[in-house]
Subunit: 273 residues, 2 copies
């Protein structure tokens, strides 16, 4: 039984910073009627190099903020949070919750023929073994090869998507994976879809690239349908952006991630009393 | 009139993370008798990409921590804090305080013949114009050419000091400065001294590189002398390290910055009540 008032509430999305906008982009494409509230914790970005304990503290703050905006479900767009703190969100929020790890792992297994799957992400995501564990839980015969790529985020934020140096760094990171004959590679960080072209070049087009954000948008649609929570309003949706540091940089770089104009970005304070 | 009890107190040093250890290294070389308390805010690193307002909040937390350790002076090892929040430290701490900007600017002017000086650092440091303002305050005829180099910190933390990609990135960043015929370049970030060799190669040995940390250690010595605060004890000094996130990574990478073993690194909580 659907409820118009409940269904018109926004989907809450949070990330450590700007990268989660690639997940919002996928949501806008696959669920064009939904209202969205996005929070990027730009005052404390990045999470990927920090310990699980600190990431769990920050995650609770982020969740509290989205709850204060009365959302109907929560999408953890951040791979690091999805890897080490998804239970923090689930425990605090009495709402449907999804991260990006399980959708990404499922999509990779559907795409892979030889079940030799690569995973790249931040140090936090890779060290957590979250993708490896999920892939092997879903199919115990899967061989998983992981590599942390800490230079990729600053390269993307610099806008150096196609530079020779970017290609050399991608080779440095990906060579150990290609020698393992992977046929599928999970882009386990929301920034990495912007490097798809360079990664495809370095892997010579032999590897299927999995964008966890796109996979997650599919999972969100399925969860909304299962719970009768889809927004049936034909009004143009309301997309709101909040960040914890000055909005200017977020606004400037954000278009690259979102693929369209952002509109107003508001600063809020989280985690300090 | 010197006071043994007062003088045996430690010099407090803080940074957004690990980079300030290059300043500690310079202090250990130039002031081998001094006790030191170091705090690295690794839970909230980096500061360089964040707004002045957020950096000022974090700086107050860092200062409170050092004051709780009863230090005799405070060295702001972080270029970003020195650029945008030195007054926060000075206002809160009733102690001698130095940042790294003024010592670096002074050393650059001593080294430069043509008074065409380059400055590289994080986005926060460069956008603050702190080095430019200080150089031009000291000598109004100076021409200053600045460039933010956000890839340098992750390259150093990856340990990729001499890679071809590192050289290409250094060329990308430094080309606009070398075409301006600078004869002196301020390494305005504590990580950058580890890239000295690559930077010297790219600038073809034609540019004097100024390590602000080394310059700052000289300033600290002069300030201690001026106030009669030098430690005269011949006991082996006590060097203590504190961080706000898990110590393991700090300990592992820290040796590269400090040039020696670190010993025990303790985790403390700052800025949350």
């Amino acid at each position: 039984m659907s409820n118009t008032l409940q269904n018109s509430k926004a989907i809450g999305v949070f990330d450590s910073g700007i990268g989660g906008l690639t997940v919002v982009r996928a949501l806008l494409e696959q669920l064009p009627n939904e209202n969205i509230v996005y929070f990027g914790d730009t005052a404390r970005v990045p999470y990927g190099s920090k310990s699980a304990q600190v990431v769990r503290e920050y995650t609770l703050d982020d969740t509290e903020f989205l709850l204060s905006r009365d959302v109907k479900m929560i999408v953890v767009a951040c791979n690091t949070v999805s890897a080490v703190a998804l239970d923090v969100v689930q425990k605090r929020a009495n709402l449907p919750v999804t991260g990006v790890i399980i959708p990404g792992a499922e999509a990779a297994l559907r795409a892979s023929g030889n079940k030799r799957i690569g995973v790249i992400g931040t140090a936090g995501t890779v060290n957590s073994n979250a993708y490896r564990n999920e892939l092997q839980r879903l199919d115990g015969t899967t061989n998983v090869f992981s590599k942390a790529c800490p230079l990729f985020v600053p390269l993307v934020e610099e806008g150096w998507l196609d530079l020779k140096a970017t290609e050399l760094i991608a080779q440095e990171y990906l060579f150990p994976l290609t020698t393992e004959r992977i046929d599928t590679l999970i882009l386990g960080c929301t920034h990495y879809p912007l490097l798809k072209r360079t990664i495809a070049k370095v892997t010579k087009g032999m590897v299927t690239l999995i964008d966890s954000g796109e996979a997650t948008a599919g999972t969100v649609a399925a969860m909304l349908d299962a719970q009768g929570l889809r927004n049936s309003s034909s009004q143009s949706p309301n997309i709101q952006f909040f960040v914890s540091d000055a909005p200017e940089k977020f606004t400037a770089v954000g278009e690259l991630f979102l693929g369209r104009k952002l509109g107003v970005v508001r600063k809020v304070t989280v985690g300090r009393h």
